[in-house]
C-alpha cells in the first residue's frame, strides 16, 4: 500500500545438470524477474536453449497452423487439463491432427477453387442463351472472324456499308442486345474500328466450351451442386474435428508455449562450461519460501544468494501493491507511467478521489444506475485484464454517482424531490419534500446552488493540490534531502495556502467595493506566507520560476470543471426532458394533446437525447476526472520511469502441473 513491493536482488548459481530443474521451479513459482545477461566475458557466455526447444517450437508451429485452419478461437471457459496428460501423447495427436486436418483443408481449398472456376464459366455462358448457336460454332474458322458482344444500335445497316458478305445473329440477354457477327478476315480491321467508335459496344468473350448453351448450363449446374455437396461434407468433418479436439488444441497450445518459454530461458542466463548463473529480483517477503522450494527440488545443489551492495535503484523492478478494492486503479497509474522504486504509488488516492470527482460531475440516479449496470455486465464478461479493471472503476464511480444523484435530487434530469426553483414550485417524482440528512437539506439543486458548489470545487482543488505537494515533499526528502524538498515543494505549499488566505479576504471586499481590510490578521499571515514561499522558490529554482506562479492559479481554477461538466450534463438532460414533455403534453397539460404522432416524436427525442447524454456522461466525467489526477495532481509529485516487474512464468488458464 502506497509503497511498491519491496524487492531483493538475488543471484542463483548451480551446476549445469541442475539447470532444468531450476528453470522448472522458478517457472512454477512465477516470482523471479530475470535480469538479462548481456555482457559476455571469456568465461561466461549467454546460455544455449535446452535441447527440447526446437522440438517444442516445431510442435507449436504446426499446432497453431492447425488451429488457424480450423478457425479455432480462444474460449474463456475451458476445462483444465493436466500438463502430464498432454505431453504423454502430444506427438501422436499432433501428427494425426495434422494429417486429418491438413488433407481436408487442402481438399476444401481445391474444391473452392474449382467451384469458383465453374461459377465463372456459368456466368460467361449465360449471355449466349440469347443466340441460337452451339458454342463450338463460334471458333475454329480459318477465313472468318467472329465478333461477339453487347451493342445497343442496329449494326446491320453499318456493316452492309463495309461489305455485304456476312452473317449476323442478334438476340437478347437480360434486356441487353447481344450479337454475333461472322465476317471474312479481310474486313476484320474495318469492323473493329467501327465497333470501337460505338460507345455502347461491350465485347463478350466466348467461353472455351462445346455444345448448346442450355445443355452446358445443365452440366455446369450439376457440377457445381456436386462440388458444393463435397465442400459441405468436408466442412462438417472439419467442424467435427474442431469440436472434438478444440480442448486439446487450446490446452496443448498453452502447454507448448510454456515449455518453449522454459527451454529458451537459458538465453537470458550466464553459463560457463559447467555452471550457470541467473541474475534477478524477487519480492523480499517471498525469499524464504523460494529458498525452501529450490532446496527441495534440486537437492540443495542450486544456490540462492541475496545481494545487498551496489544496488542501482533504477534497476529494481516495480510491482504495485494495493488492497483489492484499489487494485483496478493501478491501470490508471500504468497508463501514465510506472513509478520509481522510492516513489509513492498513488493508486490508493485515486481510489478515493477518482470516483468522487466522477460522481460529483455525473450525479444522477438514473445515469448512475445505468453506468453501474454497464460496469457490472463488462465484469461478468471479462474476468481479468485491463477491461475488467476499467469496468471495476466504472462500477465504483457509477455507484457513487447514484448516491450523489440522491443528494442532487436528479433522476434522468427530472427532480426526485419537490423543490422550489427560481420562485416556482416543481413536483418531484417521489412527490415528497427532500429529507434533511446530517444538517444537509436535500436536494442540493445544482442550478440553485452554483455559488456554494463552485466554492466547494475550489476547496476540493486546493486540498487535492496540497495533498500532491505533501507527497512530493516526502518523495523529495527521500530522493534528495530536506533542503531540496523545502525549496521545491514546501515553497509551493506556502504560496498556495498564503495565496488562498489572502484572496479569501480580498475578494469579498473587491466584490462589494468596500475598502481593503488591510489590518486583518488572516490577510497579513497569508501575504507573509506567500512572500516567504516565493522567496524560497527563487532561492531553490531561480528567478525564472516566478513565471510558473500563474500555473498554480489555473490548476486550482481547473477544478471548476467538476461543477461545469456536471451542470452541462444536467442542463442537457433538462433540455431533453422539456422538449419531449412539450411534444407529449400539449396543449395545456393534456397528455397527447398534440396527437399520437407528436407524442411519439416526444418519446424518440427523450430516448435519443438521454442516450447521447449518457455517452457524454461516461466519457466527459471519466476523462476530466482523470485529467484532474494526471495534470493537476500527479505533476506535483510524480516522476515515474520505473521498470515493470515481469516475473518468469506463465499464468496458466487451461492446464495445470
Amino acid at each position: 500500500m502506497l509503497k511498491t513491493t519491496r524487492m531483493t536482488k538475488v543471484v542463483i548459481a548451480g551446476t549445469k545438470d541442475q539447470l532444468e530443474p531450476a528453470i522448472s521451479v522458478f517457472h512454477r513459482l512465477n516470482v523471479l524477474h530475470i535480469t538479462d545477461f548481456s555482457k559476455e566475458t571469456e568465461d561466461f557466455k549467454i546460455g544455449r536453449p535446452l535441447k527440447t526447444a526446437s522440438k517444442f517450437s516445431e510442435y507449436l508451429l504446426s499446432l497453431r497452423a492447425i488451429s488457424n485452419q480450423l478457425g479455432l478461437k480462444e474460449s474463456e471457459s475451458g476445462r483444465i487439463t493436466k500438463s502430464g496428460e498432454i505431453s504423454s501423447d502430444i506427438d501422436e495427436k499432433i501428427t494425426k491432427l495434422q494429417k486429418e486436418v491438413s488433407s481436408r483443408f487442402d481438399e476444401l481449398r481445391n474444391i473452392e477453387f474449382k467451384l469458383k472456376e465453374k461459377e465463372d464459366l456459368l456466368s460467361s455462358v449465360k449471355p449466349f442463351f440469347g443466340l441460337p448457336l452451339s458454342l463450338d460454332s463460334y471458333s475454329g474458322y480459318e477465313r472468318v472472324k467472329v465478333f461477339t458482344g453487347y451493342i445497343d444500335i442496329d449494326i446491320e445497316s453499318r456493316i452492309i456499308k463495309i461489305h455485304s458478305n456476312f452473317e449476323l445473329f442478334v438476340g437478347e440477354h437480360e434486356k441487353r442486345k447481344i450479337f454475333a457477327l461472322f465476317i471474312p478476315r479481310e474486313f476484320e480491321r474495318e469492323v473493329q474500328e467501327l465497333l470501337q467508335e460505338e460507345r455502347t459496344y461491350v465485347e463478350v468473350k466466348v467461353p472455351p466450351l462445346k455444345g448448346n448453351p442450355p445443355i452446358i448450363l445443365d452440366e455446369l449446374t450439376k457440377d457445381i451442386s456436386n462440388l458444393k455437396e463435397n465442400s459441405n461434407t468436408l466442412r462438417t468433418e472439419l467442424d467435427k474435428l474442431k469440436e472434438e479436439y478444440s480442448e486439446f488444441i487450446i490446452a496443448a497450445d498453452e502447454h507448448l508455449s510454456i515449455e518453449t518459454q522454459k527451454s529458451e530461458a537459458p538465453l537470458r542466463f550466464a553459463t560457463s562450461a559447467n555452471a550457470f548463473i541467473i541474475d534477478g529480483w524477487i519480492p523480499s517477503n517471498k525469499f524464504d519460501e523460494i529458498e525452501i522450494e529450490l532446496q527441495k527440488s534440486t537437492g540443495g545443489k542450486v544456490y540462492l544468494t541475496k545481494i545487498t551492495e551496489e544496488i542501482d535503484e533504477k534497476e529494481i523492478p516495480i510491482e504495485l501493491e494495493n488492497p483489492s478494492a484499489a487494485k483496478p486503479f493501478e491501470l490508471l497509474i500504468d497508463t501514465f507511467a510506472t513509478p520509481k522504486y522510492s516513489e509513492i504509488d498513488p493508486s490508493l488516492f485515486l481510489f478515493v478521489t477518482y470516483p468522487m470527482f466522477y460522481a460529483l460531475m455525473l450525479g444522477d440516479v438514473g445515469y448512475g444506475l445505468i453506468v453501474t449496470a454497464i460496469g457490472f455486465l463488462i465484469i461478468q464478461k471479462f474476468k481479468t485484464g485491463g477491461l475488467n479493471a476499467l469496468a471495476m472503476i466504472l462500477l465504483i464511480s457509477g455507484l457513487l454517482s447514484t448516491v450523489f444523484g440522491v443528494i442532487y435530487g436528479e433522476f434522468f434530469g427530472f427532480p426526485i424531490f419537490n423543490l422550489e426553483f427560481k420562485g416556482h414550485f416543481e413536483a418531484g417524482i417521489l412527490g415528497i419534500a427532500g429529507p434533511a440528512i446530517a444538517g444537509l437539506h436535500l436536494p442540493v439543486h445544482r442550478f440553485e446552488s452554483v455559488k456554494p458548489l463552485l466554492l466547494l470545487c475550489f476547496g476540493i482543488g486546493i486540498f487535492h493540490v496540497i495533498l500532491g505537494y505533501i507527497i512530493g515533499f516526502r518523495n523529495q526528502v527521500l530522493m534528495h534531502d530536506l533542503k531540496h524538498a523545502i525549496y521545491t515543494k514546501a515553497s509551493w505549499m506556502m504560496i498556495l495556502i498564503g495565496g488562498v488566505m489572502a484572496i479569501a479576504k480580498i475578494m469579498p471586499s473587491l466584490m462589494s467595493k468596500s475598502p481593503m481590510p488591510t489590518g486583518d490578521p488572516i490577510l497579513m499571515v497569508g501575504s507573509g506566507l506567500f512572500i516567504i514561499g516565493v522567496i524560497l522558490l527563487i532561492i531553490g529554482e531561480g528567478f525564472i520560476s516566478i513565471l510558473e506562479l500563474p500555473t498554480l492559479l489555473s490548476n486550482i481554477l481547473s477544478y471548476s470543471r467538476i461543477l461545469a461538466i456536471g451542470l452541462s450534463s444536467a442542463g442537457i438532460a433538462l433540455a431533453v426532458n422539456k422538449m419531449s414533455m412539450n411534444l407529449m403534453i400539449k396543449p395545456d397539460g393534456v397528455l397527447m394533446g398534440g396527437g399520437i404522432l407528436l407524442a411519439l416524436a416526444g418519446v424518440v427525442v427523450l430516448f435519443i437525447g438521454h442516450v447521447i447524454n449518457l455517452l457524454l456522461g461516461i466519457l466527459g466525467p471519466g476523462l476530466h476526472s482523470l485529467r484532474l489526477q494526471y495534470v493537476e495532481f500527479f505533476t506535483k509529485f510524480y516522476e515515474g520511469g520505473g521498470t515493470k516487474y515481469l516475473p518468469f512464468g506463465h499464468n496458466r488458464k487451461y492446464t495445470e502441473e
Binding site: T335, V450, S554, L557, S560, R561, A564, H624
Partner: protein, 85 residues
C-alpha cells in the same frame, strides 16, 4: 435613440437579462473556438501516433482533452453570469 425614461422597469430588467444571456453565449462560444483550435493539432498528432501504435489511444484521448480546460473556463464564466449575478 430611445429615451431611457420612457422604458418601464420590467423592460429594463428584461433587457439586462438578455445582455447577460448574450454575454454568456459569447463566453462559451469564443472559448469553444479556442479549445477547438488547440485540440485540432493535438488530435491530429494523436491519430498519427495511434496509427503507429494502437496503445496510444488512451494517452492520445487524454492529451486531446487537455485544451478543453479553456472551454470549461468559458462555461464557468457563463454559469456564473447566468446563475450568480
Amino acid at each position: 435613440m430611445v429615451d431611457p425614461s420612457v422604458l418601464d422597469p420590467s423592460m429594463v430588467a428584461a433587457n439586462a437579462k438578455g445582455m447577460i444571456a448574450i454575454g454568456a453565449g459569447i463566453a462559451v462560444g469564443l472559448c469553444g473556438i479556442g479549445a477547438g483550435m488547440g485540440e485540432q493539432a493535438i488530435g491530429a498528432a494523436a491519430v498519427g501516433a495511434m496509427a503507429e501504435d494502437e496503445k496510444f489511444f488512451g494517452k492520445g484521448l487524454l492529451m486531446t482533452v487537455i485544451p478543453e480546460s479553456i472551454a470549461i473556463f468559458g462555461l464557468v464564466v457563463a454559469l456564473i453570469l447566468l446563475f450568480v449575478f
